[in-house]
């Protein structure tokens, strides 16, 4: 596979580290409940088909990326920076 890093261009998957589903949002702060944290840490939809996931360009620019990839065909539809995603959401 190759992932088009927004900074570095198309790079071999060997340069990246995978984390998994990008959807779960960390319940931040002292008010967060154990139940919410449990879901965040452990439960996954694990779809066959499109999945937004987190990848780290560890061998390159060290950016965390959000990659929309089909888990059946491995086709990648979209790659963006994780950083701008949250900034975007806040805006």
């Amino acid at each position: 596979m190759r992932i088009a890093c927004p900074h570095c261009g198309l790079r071999d998957v060997q340069e990246f580290v995978y984390l998994g589903d990008a959807a779960p949002q960390r319940p931040d702060g002292l008010a967060a409940t154990e139940a919410a944290m449990f879901e965040y840490v452990y439960l996954r939809d694990n779809p066959r088909g499109l999945l937004e996931e987190l990848w780290y360009h560890g061998v390159g620019c060290r950016a965390w990326l959000v990659v929309r990839r089909d888990t059946l065909t491995h086709a990648i539809e979209y790659v963006g920076l994780a950083k701008s995603r949250k900034a975007g959401a806040a805006a």
Partner: protein, 994 residues
């Protein structure tokens, strides 16, 4: 020179001026440059090439290409011995040495061919039904027998002496196969200026054109070939790669290929690789891999002398070898007739043409007449005769009448199967094409197109047309302007009528579907009878298509016979999955440079050479090599060394390299806030110029890493991590910053490589440092107390950092200098410490001292333990959120009786302790139910003069003073130990502050 009895006097693409001698089974032969091992042996009249897998039947050449199921040999000898090599693809070289395999004592006389006597019982899957009693006989008797009989060639027994490379290459258009389709595609794409790579596994480019007598634009195809190769060579962005097999198609246009750089010589020239594994990144690819001819299943079809008709043409036309003098051609289509023509022209006599079709066109009839061959229409070959070489065949005609015909060659033609393997590597399913009675590529992976025979368009005209069109299209798709299209050259007339015969029933002899794995038509029927009817079950039950040829010539016949058994059409049964590699690939080529000490990079500290000078013994820690201890001449064993190092440190001063620790520079106005969130303890209050110990959890509440972090400025921190976890922590921090809290003002970078760092520990450490640190810095106890951290200079202005931290429990410092000065620092410290007897100590000495102090390291924070388990529960702040806070509170993780960290000492102080021992109550049975924890680290304490250990024990801290057994059944140990505080030495910590 020895006479090559079956070599034609002229013709062929061999270089008759370059004779090569070689050996097969200990006998010398001659061949020519341009031969394969197969063609050269055939030229010498060799018929028998090997023995089959199960029945050890004599086997000859079936094909002239990579699909060969029979002619497998061991190539070369000794360390370079290469088993299961297809003689049909081995390029002949001077002094080549090959041996037949899977036979004993010789190819001609093979004892295991007696298996044929048991053959009636050795049907598909027989082993599932027997060998079950008595149970213990399986490993002792049956299995060793089966294993010895199974297998094919013998691997080399010693290290492969050759070098292998790996390389990466990028292109706009990759063309796989250099037959007429591939060459046309490459030129069409190349002319537009696109970067083109054209690979062919053969050592000579041209594909089937090399084997056929064809005309292009009214001239011999060889002329066209020469012209197109010259043009390709002239295009600067085109790369031509002969001897290169594309073996696999991977995601996103990545192709695996292997180049046989020096397989055509006995020993690679100095500094050159034997083979090179390529990863090809292609924007577009065109598969022009041609087609494979398929045999017919009939009784006796495995006798040496039965050969694919296209292979016969290849031997005649390309290699100038006559595979037989008296031939019979058995064909289900027009393909066989070309063989009749070529054989006759080469001087062989075709005794008969057996065409399974009842309608024969008039031109063919004329031809049969002309060449003096008997024509059997609507007929089949029903049996073959001869021992280890074909002598005659029995033909059965449409009326059921039989005739026996003498011959030494039977050429078989049953149509072709597109070489579509690569199109299936990404789950693509081939689809049945009725008109050609074959599977053709189905849905294609993105970026791949298929040209010519590989697409099931079998004529030369189609190959040329497809290639030109797809090559041009591919270039345009990746952004090049289309080059002007030449008219597609004209070709001579060709016909491809076909009515395939899947099998001929007969009652004499076995009819083989899979020649290499000895699967017969009866085996397929048996599988059907026993319910293994899915083609995948058929494959797995009978092993059809699972041999080294992966069923290239057998799969379809197997499916067809199964389809007939279950009353289905072939299109309903589908095919089994083609998997990479297309042809087998040497493991060496896939590993390339990465073997031996180059398997993975090794990281050396900037102080490494110094440690080596000091005689260090090194140990792997993650990627690093670290000094373990520094033996001195005369020391009895490692324990003596370590004791010396520890005692010298505790009584005077010791020096230890700690350069490998991870170091992360953290700056920004939110740096302190960030640390609050990633560490369990508080950071906002840390004053500038101070260091603090921190513990980091994973989000699931278990300890991830620990280390000290120093505040160098209001918004500037320097974090240290453990050696092993440095990269993991960096990644985690980047995650926390970029994914969780991008709003924080924060800048981070690893500076691990920039600093060499040394621990100077022991009561005299300050005095040593005083002589190294530039005089202007006050490092007195008052000015630079425990946990002070500051930027200083050494050596007259070299920037350095000093930390008053201690892992050993002594008055201690860590001094960091830019890595280039690491070696100097060690020498300077040694020189300065000389009056105090400064002693280098390694990881082992460090380990003793940290165990004496009860400090946990990776063996304690092993990913299964929480901060609470480590006795650090109170560090967890309740005033802030931090990673892992909530999950660490889960009920099972705060249970009182969770094993927690305590110390252990042997009750009998002469006993040694072992890490990995488990704790069992005294008098209780050594059983899981009574298991109360385990020992993580042990050391001999030269200060206490006995062994000490750390470990996790249920309710540990409440059991100080209790006795328990540390049991170690795998090392036959059982030691009674006393539970104690994990801090064995200087529990008040007074030495630290000294």
């Amino acid at each position: 020179m020895r006479k090559q009895l079956h070599r034609l006097n002229s013709g062929g693409l061999i270089d008759r001026t370059q004779a090569l001698c070689f050996r097969f089974d200990g006998k010398n032969y001659d061949g020519f440059a341009g031969d394969t091992l197969a063609s050269a042996l055939l030229a010498n009249g060799v018929r028998l090439f090997g023995r089959s897998f199960k029945y050890h039947r004599p086997r000859g050449l079936l094909s002239a290409g990579p699909e060969e199921p029979n002619a497998l040999v061991e190539l070369r000898t000794g360390a370079r011995r290469e088993p299961n090599t297809r003689a049909t693809v081995v390029e002949l070289f001077q002094n080549l040495e090959a041996t037949s395999q899977n036979r004993w004592p010789s190819l001609g006389f093979d004892v295991l061919s007696l298996n044929r006597l048991a053959a009636p019982a050795l049907v598909a899957g027989f082993y599932y039904k027997t060998f079950m009693w008595p149970a213990r006989f399986w490993e002792k008797l049956y299995e060793p027998l089966i294993r010895r009989a199974a297998g094919l060639g013998r691997a080399a027994a010693v290290e492969d002496p050759d070098h292998y490379d790996k390389a990466f290459v990028f292109c706009d258009v990759l063309v796989i196969g250099a037959g007429p389709a591939g060459l046309s595609a490459a030129v069409a794409a190349g002319r537009s200026g696109a970067r083109v790579i054209i690979c062919d596994e053969d050592f000579r480019l041209g594909g089937r054109l090399l084997a056929e007598r064809r005309q292009i634009d009214g001239r011999p195809a060889a002329d066209w070939l020469a012209a197109i190769l010259a043009e390709l060579a002239s295009l600067s962005e085109v790369r031509i790669m002969p001897r290169t097999s594309v073996f696999g198609l991977y995601d996103h246009g990545i192709y695996g290929a292997v180049e046989r750089v020096n397989d055509h010589v006995a020993v690679p020239p100095a500094h050159q690789p034997r083979q090179r594994g390529w990863r090809i990144y292609a924007k577009r690819a065109i598969l022009a891999a041609g087609a494979l001819e398929r045999p017919i299943v009939f009784p006796g079809n495995d006798r040496p002398g039965v050969m694919l008709s296209g292979a016969v043409r290849a031997y005649v036309n390309r290699f100038g070898v006559l595979p037989g003098r008296e031939a019979v051609v058995f064909t289900a289509g027009d393909g066989g007739w070309a063989t009749v023509r070529d054989l006759t022209e080469a001087g062989a006599h075709v005794a008969a043409i057996v065409d399974a079709r009842s309608e024969i066109n008039p031109e063919s009839k004329t031809m049969a007449l002309r060449v003096g061959a008997r024509l059997f229409a609507g007929s089949v070959v029903e049996a073959t005769h001869g021992g280890q070489a074909l002598r005659s065949v029995t033909v059965r005609d449409a009326s059921g009448k039989r005739a026996r015909l003498a011959c030494d060659l039977l050429a078989v033609s049953n149509g072709w199967n597109p070489t579509l393997h690569l199109t299936s590597h990404q789950n693509g399913k081939p689809v049945w094409e009725e008109t050609i009675q074959s599977f053709v590529p189905g849905r294609l992976p993105p970026g791949l197109a298929v040209a010519g025979s590989a697409a099931g368009r079998f004529t030369l005209a189609e190959a040329l047309r497809d290639g030109a069109r797809l090559g041009r299209e591919a270039a345009v798709e990746v952004g090049f302007a289309a080059a002007a299209a030449d008219p597609v050259p004209a070709t001579d007339a060709e016909t491809d009528g076909l009515a395939p015969v899947w099998r001929v029933r007969g009652n004499r002899g076995k009819a083989f579907v899979d020649l290499q794995n000895d699967v017969t038509d009866k085996d397929v029927e048996l599988a059907a009878r026993e319910g293994f009817r899915s083609i995948e079950h058929l494959k797995r039950y009978t092993t059809l298509g699972m041999a080294t040829d992966q069923g290239k010539t057998s799969n379809l016949a197997g499916l067809a016979i199964m389809a007939e058994q279950v009353g289905k059409a072939i299109c309903e049964t589908g095919t089994t999955t083609f998997r990479p590699p297309y042809t087998p690939v040497a493991i060496g080529a896939l590993a390339g440079h990465h073997r031996g000490k180059d398997f993975r990079p090794v990281r050396l500290a900037p102080t490494h050479d110094w440690s080596r000078e000091q005689g260090a013994v090194f140990v792997e820690t993650g990627q690093w090599l670290r000094a373990q201890y520094y033996p001195k001449p005369g020391e009895q064993d490692w324990l003596a060394t370590i004791n010396r190092e520890v005692l010298a440190t505790r009584s005077g001063v010791g020096l230890c390299d700690v350069s490998t620790l991870g170091k992360i520079d953290i700056q920004g106005s939110d740096a302190a806030e960030f640390l609050e969130r990633v560490y369990i303890n508080g950071w906002k209050t840390l004053p500038i110029g101070k260091a603090r110990y921190g513990v980091m959890l994973r989000e699931d509440g278990f300890v991830m890493d620990d280390g000290t972090t120093s505040r160098l400025g209001e918004n500037h921190f320097l974090m240290t991590t453990t050696t092993i976890n440095a990269a993991k922590v960096m990644q985690h921090l980047e995650f926390c910053h970029q994914v969780l809290w991008p709003e924080l003002d924060l800048r981070m970078v690893s500076v691990s490589e920039q600093w060499a760092q040394a621990a100077v520990a022991g009561p005299r450490s300050r005095e040593v440092l005083r002589r190294v640190v530039d005089a202007k810095h006050d490092i007195s106890n008052e000015a630079f107390p425990y946990l002070a951290a500051g930027e200083i200079t050494v050596g007259g202005g070299i920037p350095a950092r000093l930390f008053r931290i201690s892992f050993s429990g002594e008055l201690a410092y860590e001094l960091a200098v830019p890595a280039g000065y690491g070696d100097a620092m060690m020498h300077a410290l040694m020189a300065a410490g000389e009056p105090y007897g400064i002693t280098p100590y390694g990881l082992d000495g460090l380990n003793v001292m940290r165990i004496e102090k009860g400090h946990a390291i990776g063996t304690e924070s092993n990913g299964q333990t929480t901060a609470r388990d480590l006795g650090l529960g109170r560090m967890m702040s309740s005033k802030k959120d931090f990673i892992g806070r909530l999950m660490a509170k889960r009920e099972a993780l705060v249970q009182a009786d969770r094993p927690s960290l305590v110390g252990f000492r042997p009750v009998d102080t002469n006993n040694r302790l072992w890490a990995g021992a488990h704790f069992i109550g005294i008098g209780r049975a050594a059983k899981t139910e009574n298991d109360e924890g385990y020992m993580t680290s042990v050391a001999y304490s030269p200060n206490l003069k006995h062994w000490i250990g750390l470990g996790f024990l249920k309710n540990g801290p409440t059991r100080i003073g209790e006795r328990i057994q540390a049991v170690d059944p795998v090392r036959n140990g059982e030691v009674e130990v006393e539970v104690c505080s994990p801090i064995f030495f200087d529990p008040e910590g007074t030495r630290l502050h000294g």
